[in-house]
């Protein structure tokens, strides 16, 4: 099995543009103010391309893909 990864976010950088929820709805929904709620746990292989697109599409570069063990 490949290394398990998850989505991490820099909450200070995030401005709630909400692009991520469009690019990877499998993992991200938005709260009432437009800020992402990220599904915890490992990103399934099938969703990884969408997750990568969300990371590169974030206008404030707040998203990252990180090892599952890392905090936040």
């Amino acid at each position: 099995m490949s290394d398990r990864v998850t989505l991490g976010i820099d909450r200070i950088k995030c401005d709630g543009h909400g692009v991520c929820a469009d690019l990877v709805p499998e993992l991200i929904e938005l709260d009432d103010w437009g800020y992402p709620i990220i599904r915890s746990g490992a990103i399934p292989q099938s969703v990884l391309p969408h997750a990568r697109r969300a990371v590169s599409g974030c206008p404030t570069l707040a998203l990252r893909i990180q090892a599952l063990a890392a905090r936040r």
Partner: protein, 406 residues
């Protein structure tokens, strides 16, 4: 307690001078094998998280990115707590001893003494204490006056202020032990914790353990307020109960239905359950409570828990650093709705909304500010559920007649 943090000359005499401190406790011992001794002592951090002290020290000592720095954290932002400022006011040399010992143990030369700007007495005593120290020690000690803000005592905020003059939390990683003051590995340690170190280094881990009970060593400082004769700082042996602490503080002055344990970052507990609780971090944690920074606030009769909770949430929302969306907007919205419920002016759905929103706060900020607010609110729902419903459904308060909310 012949030897304890608050032992020695009476508090009314002000700070203990260096000569008296040395006469009473002896010279500063060497820090050889101190980390192992601290580990065996079972000392836990007293800033709120109760993190094992030796573990934190090892993580700083093992870094290779430059000489470490020690930051003694005396930025006491919790409005109900007095312990850190009073300790610095009365026993500043214990704090400085502990900081020097910690520095030696982790290989640091430089020590920052970070003190809340509104703790005037503490700042004065610490300044005087530094001036009484020999030049070799004075050269390593730097006093920093911290802004008056709830979040300015948060460890990344303290580091940020020392580095850049901005007392707001920063994103992690890096954590301060990796990259802190001047980009160097930094041990951020609460001043009370350091004072305990000063005694453990002198009298040993066995002595320290013997002051407490199995699983909770030593003593701890507790600020007792609310329905007691006056807000007081006490030092208790671990293993003592909340009732013991309240009795030492003079006993309750009115009937009480609930106790706020751990301060604004803690939570409400029904009094019937609260009195018997041991004020020890681990057992409290297992029961879903937190000792936080050692605050016990007894809700007086005639005060409504819903109104008090709304007041605290308003404060926490105001004190948000406004850097992260969920805290800026979520906490503000929760506070506004809780204020309406408390003031008997709720709009349909307010109660359901704040229940849903509070579940979405935890883990969604750079620091734990939103987590603390969510925990407080969850405890309020558990303890004051009937009162919340009464306020929201029937627009009635069973305790307070006025509709005004501070």
């Amino acid at each position: 307690m012949s030897i304890a943090l608050l032992a020695g000359p009476p508090a009314a005499q002000g700070m203990e001078r260096y000569a008296d401190h040395q006469r009473r406790l002896g010279a500063l011992p060497p820090a050889t094998e101190l980390i192992a001794s601290i580990e065996r002592s079972g000392l836990r951090g007293k800033g709120g998280a109760a993190f094992p002290v030796a573990t934190k020290w090892r993580s700083v000592a093992s870094q290779r990115a430059g000489a470490p720095v020690v930051l003694a954290n005396g930025g006491e932002g919790e409005p109900l707590s007095r312990k850190d400022r009073m300790l610095m006011e009365q026993r500043p040399h214990l704090v400085i001893d502990g900081a020097l010992l910690a520095a030696t143990a982790v290989g640091a030369n430089d020590i920052v003494l970070y003190i809340g700007a509104d703790h005037a007495g503490a700042m004065q005593a610490m300044q005087r204490a530094v001036s009484e120290r020999p030049g070799s020690e004075r050269a390593r000690l730097r006093l920093v006056s911290a802004p008056v803000r709830y979040v300015s005592g948060e460890e990344t905020a303290a580091v940020h202020f020392v580095n850049a003059g901005i007392a707001l939390p920063t994103s992690i990683p890096p954590r301060p032990f990796e990259r802190g003051v001047d980009g160097r590995p930094t041990l951020v340690q609460n001043v009370e914790t350091l004072a305990h170190v000063a005694l453990i280094a002198r009298f040993g881990e066995e002595w320290y353990r013997s002051l407490g009970v199995a699983g909770a060593s030593g003593t701890t400082l507790i600020t007792v307020g609310g329905a007691v004769p006056q807000t007081v700082l006490i030092e208790i042996h671990q293993g003592m109960t909340l009732a013991d602490a309240v009795n030492i503080a003079g006993g309750i002055t009115s009937e009480s239905d609930a106790v706020l344990l751990g301060g604004y970052f803690g939570g409400w507990v029904e009094s019937s359950r609260a009195w018997g609780l041991s004020l020890d971090a681990d057992p409290l944690h297992r029961l879903g409570h937190s000792l936080g920074c050692g605050v016990v606030a007894v809700l007086p009769s005639g005060r409504c828990g819903v109104i008090e909770t709304a007041r605290i949430l308003a404060y926490l929302a105001h004190e948000s650093a406004r850097q992260c969306g969920p805290c800026t907007f979520g906490l503000r919205a929760i506070s506004a709705a809780a204020g309406r419920i408390a003031g008997l002016t709720s709009t349909p759905g307010d109660l359901e909304r704040i229940q849903r929103w509070s579940g979405l706060l935890a883990g969604r900020g750079a620091c734990h500010h939103p987590d603390g607010a969510a925990g407080l609110l969850a405890s309020a729902f558990a303890v004051f559920s009937g009162e919340f419903t009464l306020h929201d459904d029937q627009r009635r308060c069973s305790i307070v007649n006025t509709q005004a909310v501070a």
